[in-house]
């Protein structure tokens, strides 16, 4: 039986070159399905890892109660001070709470060679902001000077937008800023412009903050901060870890992409399944006499089914691999920027992970299986005498 199956499969595969056309249909069809599926999920994956890695579990993000995003939140200067003094916050080397009250505004920047602007987050931070984000490094130039209209630019923005090279002057909301450095952090902050919070407040004529970040004192820190602030009538805030916040921000987008990937893949998979069916029916048809002859010699029906299935699966696998390679070559690490849920640009990279490739291949194999099964059964059911006559 094994020998029969191997012999029949080998016969089928060796005649594939004579039927390149239909065989290519399977390969190309499934390459398309797997490439699209992998690319869409790679986008979701890249977006997720970019935004999620931004969040630290040991840093609390405090927003005004009921404001789901940093951009919607507003805290007065006094409230900012009260929040920093909350219990459960680590003390910095200067003896003050390790905390950064920050303010964000949206500025319109122009991509190189484009006329329409994109919304970019400008973040005013306090000196402790850097201690709260150890992953952030100045990679070029220097940090901004407190008190001066100086900016540092995230790596995700450098190269993509006009006026953000070091030494250039960037005009935002009617004021001129000097770009003095660029930084890298491997997460969503890379899509931001940073400056001194005091300068930002005076320049943009804002008095309060958007949020306060607190370094939590141990595992119980979050609870202590939450309870402490809840008990204080002067503030009404939401407290969560930075990680929870970012994960929450991307949930919607990830769900959307997941559904999109599902729908698009399902439609394409349906098409590819019919293409595979068609191809394998043609393959079986072209080999009618060959199969009938083997049956006459005494080959069983099961090896016929198996050999057709194996051929279909191998073609599907080839298509899947081509698709995965295509997705990897074309999309992996491709940087794209998109609208985050708070209407700011987030720059992230497609991540074609081994898990995604594996899922794509499983889909390809499933389609190959379905596409091969019916033709295989038909090939095995064909009466030998009729098939010999037809030839």
């Amino acid at each position: 039986m094994l020998k029969q199956t191997i012999a029949m499969t080998a016969l089928g595969l060796r005649s594939v070159p004579e039927r390149w056309g239909p065989s290519l249909v399977i390969i190309v069809g499934l390459a398309g399905v797997v490439a699209v599926f992998t690319a869409l999920l790679a986008m979701a994956e890249g977006f997720r890892s970019t935004l999620e890695s931004a969040g630290r579990a040991d840093v609390a993000l405090v927003l005004r109660g009921g404001s789901s995003a940093e951009l919607n939140s507003g805290l007065s200067r006094d409230q900012g001070e009260i929040i920093k003094q909350a219990p459960g916050v680590l003390t910095g080397p200067d003896g003050r709470p390790l905390a950064s009250a920050e303010m964000i505004v949206i500025a319109e920047l122009f991509k190189t060679g484009e006329q329409t602007g994109s919304n970019i987050t400008v973040r005013g931070v306090e000196p402790a902001a850097f201690a709260l984000r150890p992953q952030l490094r100045i990679v070029e130039g220097r940090g901004f000077q407190p008190g001066l209209r100086e900016l540092i630019v995230g790596k995700g923005i450098t190269g993509q937008f006009q006026g953000v090279a070091i030494g250039e002057t960037l005009r935002m909301r009617g004021s001129d800023w000097t770009v003095v450095g660029s930084f890298q952090s491997g997460d969503a902050y890379e899509s931001e412009l940073w400056t001194d919070v005091e300068v930002a407040q005076t320049t943009f004529n804002r008095r309060g903050y958007s949020s306060v970040r607190l370094a939590l004192d141990g595992a119980a820190g979050l609870q202590t901060v939450t309870d402490g602030l809840a008990a204080d009538p002067r503030v009404n805030v939401d407290v969560e870890t930075e990680q929870q916040y970012y994960s929450g921000q991307t949930r919607q987008f990830r769900a959307t992409i997941g559904i999109l990937a599902g729908v698009v893949t399902a439609i394409m998979a349906l098409g590819a399944t019919f293409a595979a069916l068609n191809t394998m029916y043609a393959a079986v048809g072209a080999r009618t006499r060959e199969i009938a002859t083997l049956r006459a010699l005494g080959f069983g029906g099961t090896p016929v089914v198996l050999s057709v299935m194996i051929e279909s699966l191998l073609l599907a696998l080839a298509g899947g691999v081509v698709g995965a390679v295509l997705a990897f070559v074309l999309f992996n690490n491709m940087a794209v920027s998109t609208l985050g849920s708070n209407f700011t640009q987030v720059v992230f990279r497609f991540a074609v992970t081994p898990e995604l490739v594996q899922r794509g291949l499983v889909i390809a194999l499933a389609i190959g299986m379905v596409g091969g099964l019916l033709p295989a059964v038909r090939a095995a059911r064909l009466p030998v005498t009729a098939a010999l006559r037809a030839a």
């Binding site: 012999a7 016969l11 060796r14 083997l294 010699l297 005494g298 080959f299 005498t385 010999l388």
Partner: protein, 228 residues
């Protein structure tokens, strides 16, 4: 006639064509002794191929009995029938039916894949079969590189290689010129006389029938007189 190799008893065979049933063989009875070489002649559509397929175990009769080498093949299931064919029958077709992607020796080897023989044993049997048909020097050629006569020799080697008791040949020379046909028929004669194979051969060619020990005439699903 002591022991018949092939015993056909009151065999009916009908096909369903569209909505109606067409009977092709009407109660056919026939004995073919061991070591016989029978030529089966008759007009087109008389049921020659149908009879051959029944005797070769490719199909089952609608009613009646068929016994080959002591086995009631009309009672076998399709899986059993396939295994029975592999051991007992060699088929030779009009258009050779070789696998185009395989060399001559690989084609001849095919029936042996259904046996428990080792690769070395298979190689030996293939060499012997190719030698019998005189094609040892063409073992590595693909069908495309062979003449029609040579292709049919390969097909005969394939039919022989598992040493079956019966050879079933449906117009084996129908696609060959006179000289080549005579060579193939001479080969079949040798297989019958020297190797003791029982051969049933359908042919339209009276000259081909002369190579057989006797000729049966089939007309409208019934046998006419048996010529000696």
């Amino acid at each position: 006639m002591s022991e018949a190799m092939i015993r056909v008893r009151d065999v009916h065979k009908s096909y369903v064509r569209g909505r109606q049933q067409v009977e092709v063989l009407h109660g056919l009875t026939l004995d073919i002794p061991n070591g016989d070489f029978v030529a089966l002649m008759g007009p087109s559509g008389s049921g020659k191929t149908t009879l051959l397929n029944l005797v070769g175990g490719l199909d089952r009769p609608t009613s009646g009995q068929i016994e080959v080498a002591g086995v009631r093949i009309d009672q076998l299931g399709s899986g059993q029938l396939a295994r029975w064919r592999a051991r007992n029958v060699g088929f030779v077709f009009q258009f050779y039916n070789l696998m185009p992607v395989l060399t001559a020796e690989r084609n001849v080897e095919l029936p042996l894949l259904l046996t428990g023989l080792s690769a070395a044993q298979r190689r030996k049997s293939v060499a012997v079969a190719l030698e019998v048909v005189g094609l040892t020097d063409r073992a590595r050629h693909k069908p495309k590189e062979l003449s029609g006569g040579q292709e049919q020799r390969v097909a005969i080697a394939r039919a022989l290689v598992s040493d079956p008791t019966v050879l079933i040949c449906d117009e084996p020379t129908g696609d060959l010129d006179r000289r080549t046909a005579d060579e193939i028929l001479g080969l079949l004669q040798v297989l019958n006389r020297e190797h003791g194979k029982t051969i049933v051969m359908v042919t339209h060619d009276p000259k081909a029938a002369e190579f057989a020990r006797r000729t049966l005439h089939l007309e409208k699903g019934q046998l006419l007189e048996q010529a000696a």
